[in-house]
């Protein structure tokens, strides 16, 4: 039995783990969808557990690799022999101790992992505080419909692909499958929960500090699965409240040149998209009432800039091939008009 081998393995593991830790933290900072760094009451215990099982995994790989290497090279091996050579056989009994000790230690580690897992599960199953609000998210090919729920029907509003939440309080989500199965995931705040047609799933999250957190659909859902992102914007309570009240309003009416754009918008876009307080009341695509308050368009695929807006409207299939938004038949002036109108939706 090689206790010395194990000692080396332990020191090696500590070194390796340290190196890995540094490397991963560095890489994670630059990767917006990483889940090695979490930011909230739901994320913290899971991140700890993730690191815990990751380090156990790395340690096991290191120990087993060293044991295999040690077993191979602890005495001189034999090269390839001519076919049929009868090499000496070892009849050494024993070795069963390896299995007893190896399996014994493994079982203890596995058991401890189960206990830790169950404790974390108890912590994250539901929030310890009352949720501040409930948001309904519907997964659709290939965007997220978002509705802020309220007991007062007048205080319910819809938006898309960008969810604002207040910091420091839990927020509850109702998840609905709009067409096929998608999976709702904001790695820095919470693990995945699928949106499945025919059932309503629930999850919750809490952001400890303000910031913009990336999310993504992770259940394969068709050709544009790759372009089904979302953003969660966590804001201090007062800012969130202001945003919320603003979203509840219909956008300001437009006049002049912008009114012509609005007419074209209603004709070409209004059967799928809605702008509150206008004739555009479609429900197939995202609600655009406050489009210009969002950081991105096309489900977090493009930054919300005038150029991208033009590009997306004029050639959706070039940006997201297979997307359900068709290329509208628009003259240049109509296109410009619609874009100008959309830019008023603040």
């Amino acid at each position: 039995m090689s206790w010395s081998g194990r000692k080396y393995a332990v020191s090696d593991t500590v070194f390796f783990a340290g190196a890995m830790l540094g490397l991963c933290c560095g890489a994670a900072q630059a990767a917006p969808l990483n889940y090695l760094l979490g930011h909230g009451d739901k994320a913290y215990p899971v991140v700890a557990l993730t690191w815990g099982v990751l380090l156990i995994a790395v340690a096991v790989i290191a120990i087993i690799s060293l044991l295999v290497a040690g077993a191979i090279w602890r005495r001189p091996g034999i090269g390839m022999q001519a076919p049929g050579t009868r090499l000496e056989l070892s009849g050494a009994e024993g070795g069963a101790l390896w299995i007893w000790i190896g399996v014994g230690v493994s079982s203890l580690v596995l058991l401890a992992s189960v206990v830790w897992t169950m404790r974390v599960l108890a912590d994250v199953t539901s929030p310890s505080k009352r949720a501040a609000l409930t948001i309904e998210v519907t997964g659709r090919q290939w965007w997220w419909q978002v509705r802020y729920l309220s007991d007062d029907p007048a205080r319910i509003f819809a938006t898309a692909n960008e969810i604002h939440i207040p910091t420091g309080v839990p927020v509850k989500f109702k998840l609905i499958g709009g067409d096929v199965i998608h999976s709702f995931w904001v790695p820095a705040l919470s693990g995945k929960t699928d949106t499945i047609p025919g059932q309503t799933n629930e999850t919750w999250m809490e952001a400890a500090k303000p910031g913009t957190y990336h999310g993504q659909c992770t259940e394969y859902c068709g050709v544009e699965h790759a372009h089904m992102g979302l953003l969660v914007v966590a804001q201090p309570s007062a800012q969130f409240r202001a945003w919320y009240e603003h979203q509840l309003q219909s956008p300001d009416p437009v006049g002049g040149q912008q009114a012509a754009g609005q007419v074209d918008f209603n004709v070409h876009c209004g059967s799928c998209h809605a702008v509150r307080g206008t004739d555009a009341a479609g429900v197939l695509g995202p609600d655009l009432s406050h489009l210009m308050t969002r950081k991105t368009i096309a489900a977090a695929t493009l930054a919300n800039t005038p150029e991208n807006l033009t590009r997306w409207i004029s050639d959706p299939q070039g940006v997201k091939p297979g997307a359900l938004m068709q290329r509208p038949e628009l003259s240049d002036s109509e296109l410009a008009g619609i874009r100008t109108y959309l830019q008023t939706l603040k």
């Binding site: 994670a28 090695l36 990751l54 199965i181 394969y220 790759a226």
Partner: protein, 651 residues
């Protein structure tokens, strides 16, 4: 023609008795030419065909992967359209999981089982041929659809509702569904054959504690298939009904349930994962000790661990559904079970390490593959352990971490042992050695390429890269990892190419192997390389776990002497001996069938039936069904030469 008889005291003779070999050869030989090729029931021929066909699919699936790895080499690349990408990645998964990983192991077991168990063929030789032909037909069926642009496009586990007609209007999913059901028939009859062979055809004296671990692995996998395959066949059938006849199993607006698909699929899917690794683990358990010059440490524990893994493997399917919103209380049970299932695997790992530690390694290519496999097995195992932890899995699932995990399992625990097994058993298959120098190059290219290609996927997964995306934006932190992955996958492909070069070159120019080039202990090494059509001139008698090492390693309690030089002759037509399931006491002389066209014709009829269903050519479907019925009727017709009918004269 033999005279049918009710009982006989089998003649006992020496294996080199004058005239015995030519007589057996006449009885067992397959006719030369195309007729013989189509009708043979020789398990060695079938086994080799299985292996070659599976490798053809491995190469096809590998090329598909290389193509889409190019697309993923950098952000925002558009070599493929999304639809092309989706068909490619799905076909890649389907090919590797269904058409390569399972069948290649069936191939080895088909070739090796009668030889390691001391029988003249599998228990049901015609069923064996049927199993191969259906496998080939279903593979062609699935690839024909792919070639016509109708490959599956919903990932290999094919979740509804995306697979439903409303979202997936083409015939793609119909062909996938029917092809997998057809393949399921092949796997089922093959599995039944393995189980019956295991229980009934072991050489006299090969009691339950003397069976090579490869046989334990395959019989465990086969038993699991018998219970698990119906789940996936049914799931695909119900989906096909939904898509073609308006039923409502998964149809949400009418009250169907998408999660029913996931339950049925994973009740099959998880046991299947074990079914495509346990026989490979068995190969290592049998092969590694040969190159450590000692018996496997912990034979009993490893055999029991194999069975225990499978039994537990039926209780963890829900860990593929952790994010579906099931109640956490029930999920926690599956989470614990998914972690604890690692225990029997730990048994095997420490048994292998102890075997090397207490032995003296011989540095052959096969040894390198088997020994490195232990490390890859561990990596694939611990990443599986991580996904078993429920809260962690909510993060890991559907990211590249899981992609890394499944590839460490399928390549690490299937491809590496399989390639090691090729180096180990190629001399038996062909009578020639593979080149060892090229073999070392082969190993190191594959080992480095594999780890270079697939290890970074763990990290891109931890950095949040979702699986099944056809492209990704820059600035996500995944660029360089994907570039390394693509590079590594090409290095790995070069490794596979070196293997093929070695096999092709060595078939002609390899050094002659002789019957037992590795001085290995089991029965297959007691006969010539390649073995004669009848395998054993006389039925061997087994007295220990290591018939060819007796006297050189200490005996176990209860061991007696094995006999391979002399035994029952059994030359009144194709015959072998049937033994009792536990102690392998001889109990019956079994008559084995002649070569037959029934299996290939039945496969064609069934394929016509499925093609008719897929193309909605109903007369073809009916013709196929009637043809299949007639074929089975003729096949099962009681035959005098098989001892199935009464002898009017005697009774």
């Amino acid at each position: 023609m033999t005279i049918a008889e009710y009982e006989r005291a089998p003649a006992v003779a020496s294996a080199d008795q004058q005239g015995l070999a030519p007589r057996l050869l006449r009885i067992w030989k397959t006719e030369p030419g195309i007729a013989g090729w189509l009708s043979t029931t020789d398990h060695k021929e079938i086994g080799l065909r299985y292996i070659v066909t599976a490798f053809a699919f491995l190469i096809a699936g590998g090329v598909e992967a290389l193509i889409f790895r190019l697309q993923l080499a950098g952000p925002n690349l558009h070599l493929l359209t999304p639809e092309q990408y989706d068909q490619l990645f799905t076909t890649h998964g389907m090919t590797m999981i269904f058409l390569y990983a399972g069948p290649v192991l069936s191939g080895f077991s088909n070739y090796l089982w009668p030889l390691i168990l001391g029988a003249r063929d599998m228990a049901l030789p015609r069923l064996n041929a049927l199993s191969y032909w259906i496998y080939l037909c279903s593979g062609i069926f699935l690839y024909a659809a792919f070639a016509c642009g109708f490959g599956p496009n919903d990932g290999w586990f094919n979740y509804v509702p995306y697979a439903a007609r409303a979202y997936n209007g083409g015939p793609n999913i119909d062909f996938y569904a029917l092809g997998i059901i057809l393949l399921g028939i092949s796997t089922t009859v093959g599995s039944i054959n393995f189980v019956v062979t295991f229980l009934r055809l072991r050489a006299p004296g090969m009691s339950i504690n003397r069976i090579p671990i490869l046989a334990w692995g395959t019989v465990t996998a086969s038993a699991a298939n018998i219970f698990a395959i119906p789940a996936v066949s049914l799931a695909f059938f119900l989906l096909w009904m939904d898509r073609n006849f308006g039923t409502h199993f998964f149809d949400v607006p009418a009250g169907g349930q998408p999660l029913l698909w996931q339950h049925l699929f994973w009740m099959f899917g998880h046991p299947w994962v074990y079914a495509i690794v346990l026989p490979a683990m068995g190969m290592v358990s049998d092969g590694l000790p040969v190159f450590c010059r000692r018996p496997l440490v912990g034979y009993t524990a490893v055999a029991l661990g194999t069975v225990a893994t499978m039994v537990l493997g039926f209780g963890v399917w829900v860990h593929h559904m952790f994010a579906t919103g099931l109640p956490n209380v029930s999920l926690s049970f599956f989470s614990a079970a998914s972690i604890i299932i690692a225990v029997p695997s730990a048994v095997a790992v420490f048994a292998w390490i102890a075997t090397i530690w207490n032995g003296r390694p011989v540095f052959t290519t096969a040894f390198l593959f088997f020994a490195s496999f232990i490390v890859l097995f561990t990596i694939g195992g611990v990443s599986g352990f991580m996904t078993g932890s429920l809260p962690v899995d909510w993060q890991l699932t559907d990211t590249y971490f899981v992609v890394a995990h499944i590839h460490y399992v399928l390549i690490g625990i299937n491809v590496f042992p399989v390639v090691g097994a090729i180096y180990f058993w190629f001399p038996k298959f062909t009578g020639r050695m593979l080149d060892e120098r090229l073999g070392h190059w082969n190993f190191w290219t594959m080992f480095i390429g594999f780890n270079l290609g697939f290890f970074p996927m763990h990290i891109s997964g931890l950095l949040g890269m979702p699986r099944r995306v056809y492209t990704y934006a820059d600035g996500m932190g995944w660029d360089w990892l994907n570039l390394i992955t693509t590079f590594g996958s090409f290095v790995f492909a070069v490794g596979i190419l070196l293997l093929i070069v070695n096999v092709v070159a060595s078939m002609r120019r390899g050094a002659p192997a002789g019957p037992n080039p590795w001085d290995a202990p089991t029965l297959e090494w007691s006969v010539s390389s390649p073995p004669p059509p009848y395998n054993f001139a006389v039925i061997p008698t087994v007295g220990s776990r290591h018939p060819l090492w007796e006297g050189r390693v200490p005996p176990q309690e209860g061991d007696s002497k094995s006999y391979v030089e002399g035994g029952m002759v059994l030359d009144h037509g194709r015959e072998t001996v049937g033994t009792s399931p536990l102690d392998a006491e001889p109990g019956i002389i079994l008559k084995m069938p002649q070569d037959s066209f029934a299996p290939v014709l039945l496969s064609l009829a069934l394929t016509a039936f499925f093609a008719g269903l897929g193309l909605h050519i109903w007369w073809l479907a009916i013709a196929g069904l009637v043809g299949a019925g007639l074929d089975i009727f003729g096949w099962l017709w009681p035959e005098r030469s098989l001892g199935e009918t009464a002898e009017p004269a005697n009774v």
